[in-house]
């Protein structure tokens, strides 16, 4: 980057390749003793690349497809029908067994491997969540809930669990109908203009909702929303509002640690391996809270996998645009996680959930992967431990 500023290198394939190799996991932020804000540097550099570097046509096509589909839940949802048919008709297992998948380009193969089972219609759907969920007992806090694009389409049960847990803890949960994508995928990939448009619309939606704090259960989304103040700092109309908005953003694990638990936790006699996603531990500096929240559950044993600071390889769109390295990291992560012999694996970001589920399946294991808040939800509702094992 320095050589770029000095004009000694150009935005050529070598330079772009180095920047593309970065997962954006922000492990370097945690380890840097000088406090170099690498997140700001890589985001600025990636935006420069996307504006000024002509990518090869297949790259451009893949990226366009990702950014046209993933931030649009209504488009992503359209894929669920065909996806469900593909999975339930047996075509998927046939494709996977026959090796036909190997004929696909690596990125499409990665996508096929990562696709979760299409949620059944009868499952609690994120879209079906009401606009307002009343607090149980005396209300303590009004909370806006960000549904997330991938989260609400592929993991509606995570959003439903989040709303239930917050309500049980005395939060009035507001779920603005007009909320859009938060722009996280685009911010991390250098698509600055689209990202900032989404950021402004997200701020608008939650300002209208007049909530005290905004909660996210997706670490990637949360980290971007906490950054809006910086991203929009030179937008005269939004700079102050963005700062105020960012100050209100919390990860679900932060809210649950800040609030003195009110709802009784029922025992869950399971061993859980908890994977902290990079955008929680490195980007947001939220490290201890998720374990503290899980630690409130009686009889739940929390396991520590080796190399906990290491990325699982999901990294936004990285596992789609750089499938080889992403899979290598995924295999390594899964090896460490399974070595702790867990009953379930929990994490706090939809990208990690997809990556871990796919990696665990490819490793021939059937250990279920859930969002941390689903474990809390099961504990508060007194569900049997088996309910978590059937995922």
């Amino acid at each position: 980057m320095k050589l770029g500023l000095e004009g000694q290198v150009r935005l050529d394939p070598t330079f772009v390749n180095h920047m593309d190799n970065c997962l954006g996991c922000m492990a370097c932020l945690t380890s840097c003793p000088s406090g170099v804000k690498y997140d700001k540097l890589i985001e600025a550099t990636r935006a420069q690349i996307e504006r000024n570097y002509p990518r090869p046509v297949p790259d451009r096509f893949l990226r366009r497809m990702i950014f046209d589909i993933f931030p649009r839940p209504e488009r992503l949802r359209l894929l669920l029908g065909p996806l469900g048919m593909y999975q339930r008709s047996g075509l998927q297992s046939l494709m996977r067994r026959s090796g036909l998948l190997k004929l696909l380009p690596a990125s499409l193969r990665a996508m096929e491997n990562l696709t979760p089972s299409a949620p059944q219609k009868n499952k609690a759907n994120g879209a079906a969540l009401p606009e307002r969920v009343a607090a149980q007992g005396e209300p303590r806090l009004s909370v806006g809930l960000l549904l997330g694009c991938v989260q609400r389409v592929f993991f509606p049960e995570v959003n439903a669990a989040t709303a239930r847990v917050l309500a049980a803890e005395g939060c009035e949960v507001i779920i603005p109908r007009d909320q859009c994508c938060c722009g996280a995928l685009m911010i991390h990939a250098g698509e600055e203009k689209a990202a900032l448009d989404y950021a402004r619309r997200t701020i608008d939606a939650f300002e209208r909702a007049q909530v005290a704090i905004v909660v996210s259960n997706a670490a990637g989304c949360g980290s971007s929303m906490k950054d809006y103040g910086y991203l929009l700092h030179d937008d005269p109309k939004y700079s102050e509002r963005a700062k105020a908005f960012s100050a209100k953003c919390r990860d679900i694990s932060e809210v649950l640690t800040e609030l003195e638990p009110r709802a009784p936790r029922h025992p869950i006699p399971l061993k859980v391996a908890y994977h902290v996603s990079c955008h929680l531990q490195h980007a947001q500096g939220v490290r201890t809270q998720p374990r503290a929240v899980l630690g409130q559950i009686p009889e739940l044993q929390i396991l520590e996998a080796a190399e906990g600071a290491l990325c699982c390889g999901s990294a936004g769109i990285y596992n789609l645009v750089r499938p080889g390295p992403a899979q290598e990291l995924g295999e390594r992560k899964v090896r460490h996680v399974l070595a702790t012999a867990p009953d379930i694996v929990a994490s706090g970001n939809p990208g990690c959930l997809l990556q871990l589920r796919s990696g665990i399946r490819l490793a021939g294991s059937q250990v279920p992967v859930v969002h941390m808040v689903e474990v809390v939800d099961a504990s508060i509702r007194g569900l049997p431990a088996e309910s978590l094992l059937k995922r």
Binding site: Y38, Q48, D59, G313, P325
Partner: protein
Amino acid sequence: MAEPASMPPDAPSGAFDAHHPPSNDLINECVHCGFCLATCPTYAFGARRWIRRAGESI
């Protein structure tokens, strides 16, 4: 060495255009201690193998 701080704000900086190039001040915070390399997955496991040939795409 060019000092971007002294440049007019809308001048392009080297390889970058004028709209928010990576900040030289942030870059200069780095003391080259290399701690980041020890935790970087790209460096730790794949720096050489993951580098794609120039122009190679998906």
